[in-house]
């Protein structure tokens, strides 16, 4: 197996569009969750979301805008940024040796929502001829491939909230094994359409609005947590063999050294402590390290009652007595839950945390929960605490647990 470096990062997120801006916001714990302004506002009990500031006209011509759902626009722009950030990772490569590995949970849901509105609300048969191409799950990955003429594997993973953890893990396996020489990997999500927001609300997973500060509505691991807040955006990384990255003197953001993947196969929605712990264990074995070598964790930490208690118990079962001494960060408190892009943005935040040697804070954690008794780096970033080896956890409805093991490049 080859060592695999992360040599490009591309972001389109509620926290911002550059790695610097995103990391500074994450360090400062500046929440981008706001009262949601849109059609859904009047129809939701607690209209909240973390949205991306994005002008499609800056990135796409009129014809492309008609054909590309917002989720695809995010993904394509994030991929451009990752490729640009790599300083030429693509330039000398045979494009058959480059793959795209993308996660998305809901894909072109806003376009589909619009089509169904025409069909049902307007009782019209005039569905746009482009609707399938906008809505299909592999559209975003396909457009990245088309734009850069990448003719290797082009795969889309849809395992709900672990989609992009899976995408990066599967991409890592292929780069490490030599099946491809470069991977464009990550996730994209744009779920803020009325239909999908109402569907999430109906599941009783969404947070109530904090009456004092709506931006503090997502409270991972807190006793008064009430649920998750939907977010949108994309995060893409370039995975390149370490030898190639060193040979071309590339900037190395960090290294992927392991990936654990397990499936609960028990309940469609209830998280399994055993399944999550098994994924962390598998990730450690894949990296060839022991639990003692993990310095900190980027938690799945959604802010739902079920996840945060289960994840805490899973971390305890893997790390035993040492669990309470490991800094655990849950950044969804400030960027919301990006669903199929969550694993990717959190992987990037973990890499940046190690590069900058700062453990990121878990915001809005004023009231500890007796069921959540780890060190969550509450409220304030902790310099010097990220360490050199991090886990990034992604768990999901459907039971697919993906854990990445990341290592700093220093």
């Amino acid at each position: 197996m080859r060592r695999v470096a992360v040599t490009g990062i591309g972001l389109v997120t509620p926290l911002g569009h550059s790695t610097r801006e995103v990391f500074e916001s994450a360090c400062a714990g500046r929440s981008t969750i706001r009262p949601f302004v849109g059609e859904a506002t009047a129809r939701l009990r607690s209209p909240l979301a973390a949205t991306v500031q994005f002008d499609a006209g800056e990135h796409f011509d009129v014809q492309q805008q008609r054909l590309l759902d917002r989720v695809t626009q995010f993904a394509v722009v994030a991929a451009r940024r990752a490729i640009a950030d790599s300083g030429g990772a693509l330039s000398s490569l045979d494009r058959d040796r480059v793959g795209v590995f993308l996660g998305t949970g809901m894909a072109g849901i806003a376009s589909m929502d619009d089509g169904y509105r025409t069909l049902y609300a307007d009782a019209s048969d005039r569905i746009k001829p482009t609707l399938i191409l906008q809505g299909m799950h592999n559209a975003a990955a396909a457009w990245i491939g088309i734009e850069h003429r990448l003719t290797g594997p082009n795969l889309t993973y849809s395992t709900a909230c672990s989609s992009s953890g899976v995408a990066i893990g599967e991409a890592w396996l292929r780069v490490a094994s030599g099946a491809v020489d470069l991977a464009v990997a990550g996730g994209s999500e744009a779920p803020l359409a009325l239909g999908s927001m109402k569907a999430w609300e109906a599941m009783h997973t969404l947070a109530s609005s904090d009456v004092v500060a709506p931006s503090a509505s997502c409270k991972p691991f807190s006793k008064n947590r009430t649920g998750m807040v939907l977010g949108e955006g994309a995060a893409i990384v370039l995975l390149e063999p370490m030898d190639a990255a060193l040979a071309r003197n590339a900037t190395i953001h960090g290294e992927v050294i392991g990936y654990g993947l397990t499936t609960d196969s028990s309940h469609i929605a209830r998280p399994s402590v055993q399944g999550q712990a098994a994924a962390m264990g598998a990730a450690l074995r894949s990296a060839g390290i022991t639990a003692d070598e993990v310095d900190s964790i980027n938690a799945h930490g959604t802010g739902t009652l079920a996840n945060d208690a289960a994840e805490t118990a899973a971390i305890r079962s893997v790390f035993g007595d040492r669990a309470g001494a490991i800094p655990v960060s849950a950044t969804k408190a400030i960027h919301g839950h990006l669903l199929g892009a969550a694993g990717a943005i959190e992987c990037v935040l973990a890499l940046l945390a190690m590069r900058n040697r700062i453990a990121l804070p878990t915001m809005h954690l004023e009231q500890p929960d007796s069921e959540c008794d780890l060190d969550y780096v509450a409220e304030v970033a902790r310099p010097g605490a990220a360490g050199n080896v991090m886990l990034s956890n992604s768990f999901a409805f459907g039971g697919t647990n993906a854990v990445l093991v990341l290592q700093s490049s220093q």
């Binding site: 014809q63 008609r66 019209s124 001829p129 482009t130 191409l133």
Partner: protein, 95 residues
């Protein structure tokens, strides 16, 4: 405005086609309108001309083919008042 002028205006505005390239024998592929683009264009033409185009595969290769086809359909379907046309094509209900 003539049918030709209206279709030119649509192609220039919505499909960013260069007006100077829109001669009758201009290939749709060459001016950047692929098969998906043709489907989108016909969709827009239904709205613009208040037509209901038949749901059959078409072989439209050039700009001239499109203009001829639309003129045929206008002749066949007549020029109905806007209100009738709207109900015939199930144009979206007002919000």
């Amino acid at each position: 405005m003539t049918t030709t002028a209206r279709i030119i205006a649509m192609l220039v505005k919505d499909f960013k086609v260069d007006r100077d390239r829109l001669s009758a024998d201009a290939s749709l592929e060459d001016i950047g309108i692929d098969s998906i683009g043709v489907a989108e264009l016909l969709f827009d033409i239904e709205d613009e001309f208040h037509l209901k185009l038949p749901d059959v595969p078409l072989d439209l290769a050039t700009f001239g083919d499109v203009v001829r086809y639309v003129e045929e359909q206008i002749a066949a379907q007549g020029t109905r008042p806007a209100a009738d046309a709207a109900s015939a094509h199930e144009i979206r209900a007002a919000p």
